[in-house]
């Protein structure tokens, strides 16, 4: 559809960037919160992201990843979660004692389950 319309009009309709909280799926969030309750404590200071080892090489941003989990934005989360090296450096930085490393571990597990409809 989009190709021939592109040929026809020279453009396609832009996809939405909107986070639609009423349609997004928050099963992953609930799973992560259940498996790693400290996740709730994040107040998005970004300390983890500042310290992040993987963050020096790629756009990985744990703070934003947490936000995606909370909002049920699976697509960007799937992308984001793979980049972490699980080195655990962020654990030592978090002012709220969030078990950040396990948040990633659990999130990646949750994504897998989500894709196998096990959530």
């Amino acid at each position: 559809m989009s190709e021939n319309s592109a040929n026809k009009f020279g453009f396609t309709i832009n996809p939405s960037r909107l986070i639609n909280y009423d349609t997004s799926d928050r099963k992953v969030r609930d799973y992560v919160t259940r498996k790693e309750p400290s996740f709730k404590l994040c107040f998005a200071c970004g300390g983890c992201t500042a310290a992040c080892t993987a963050g020096q090489y790629t756009s990985f941003n744990l703070r934003r990843m947490n936000t995606y989990i909370r909002r049920g934005e699976i697509a960007p989360l799937r992308e984001e979660v793979t980049r972490c090296m699980l080195c655990g450096k962020c654990l030592l930085v978090c002012p709220r004692g969030v078990n950040t490393r396990n948040v990633v571990a659990v999130a990646s597990e949750a994504i897998r389950k989500f894709e196998r409809n096990e959530l």
Partner: protein, 343 residues
């Protein structure tokens, strides 16, 4: 200090005025406490529970009422203060009902007005059902049930911070200080009353500056699963089911966010009170940033006015929580006494 009994007029019977009057009467002075409403107590009257510990507001109301039960205090209600001027050794105070009272000194404690939510038209306060103010939510707590206008239990409530604060569009650049922690307190109370109800706070910054505030914030996440979204709500509308639809940027995701709500609570901030403004204009009192009364010195003269014998107490000078208001009122009393003795 001189044993002579002096007469002091306290303009405004809110927290600051009552504390100041009580403290002066305690020292044996004669006090005329002037309150424009039917009964003293100010905004505290409509509060159900107080942050950060959810203590019943009645406890503080009770404390203040006992404080002003003193034969040295004459209470004038239903009349405001129109004008104060210094004359000879005295201050002359004109009430709104025309009567003029002479006194040795006066304390202005005219307090604040809550921001009128109508002025943020885009939030549709007074137009959409279920858009209410934090004060109205307190009434619901007092009534013991939080419901939408059709009487049903809300399944999702949003609390919008900084309504009328930190917003040059309504000509208020100041932070009202108490709204963030009030929002967190109210969010917890909603979750306590309606465990099934999702609660969201839409904030620009979380300003948890006081003792136990940060703890309350943490508790709201850890125990009550209150959600926080960093972004200023830009507008509200209703959909075909008469459910509120709000737009906000989720600044942490860097993307616009849309959410349906059953109830939207506007955390209305503090503004210089209208009565206080009129009084200041009539009496030629200087007003400072954001139209609150300008004090003699921000650091060591925070109760001093530009008129001899006239002092400031409480939120007529800046937004304050109850704790600070009471301390500020006591400071005003000590300034007043110092003035009276030095005369």
């Amino acid at each position: 200090m001189s044993a002579a009994v002096k007469h002091i007029i306290v303009a405004g019977g809110g927290v600051a005025g009552m504390e100041a009057a009580g403290a002066l009467a305690e020292l044996g002075h004669r006090v005329s406490l002037v309150e424009k409403e039917k009964k003293p107590g100010g905004h505290l009257l409509q509060w159900h529970a107080l942050f950060p510990d959810h203590r019943p507001a009645d406890e503080v109301k009770h404390y203040l009422n006992v404080r002003i039960k003193n034969e040295n205090i004459t209470l004038y209600t239903g009349t405001g203060v129109e004008k104060i001027k210094h004359h000879g050794h005295e201050v002359v105070v004109t009430l709104t009902d025309g009567t003029a009272i002479n006194a040795d000194a006066a304390i202005i404690a005219t307090g604040f007005d809550l921001f009128d939510a109508h002025r943020k038209e885009e939030y549709g306060y007074g137009i959409y059902d279920n858009v209410i103010t934090s004060a109205e939510l307190e009434d619901m707590f007092t009534a013991g049930k939080v419901t939408t206008t059709d009487g049903s239990i809300p399944s999702r409530v949003g609390l919008v911070h900084c309504v009328g604060s930190r917003d040059e569009k309504v000509n208020n650049n100041h932070c009202s200080k108490v709204c963030c922690v009030t929002a967190v307190k109210q969010a917890i109370e909603i979750r306590k009353q309606l465990p099934e109800c999702e609660v969201f706070c839409f904030y620009m910054d979380m300003r948890m500056y006081g003792p136990y505030y940060e703890e309350l914030y943490r508790e709201s996440q850890e125990v009550y699963n209150v959600n926080f979204i960093r972004g200023k709500v830009s507008e509200a509308s209703v959909n075909i089911n008469n459910r509120l639809v709000i737009k906000v940027e989720d600044t942490l995701a860097g993307r616009p966010l849309k959410m349906e709500l059953d109830m939207m609570v506007l955390m209305v901030g503090m503004e210089m009170s209208k009565s206080g403004t009129l009084l200041a204009e009539a009496s030629g009192l200087k007003r400072g940033v954001n139209r609150f009364l300008e004090t003699g010195d921000h650091h060591y003269g925070n109760n001093l006015s530009s008129i001899r014998g006239v002092f400031y107490a409480g939120t007529c000078t800046a937004p304050m929580n109850i704790t600070d208001t009471i301390s500020h009122a006591r400071a005003a009393v000590s300034e007043t006494v110092r003035y009276l003795n030095s005369r």
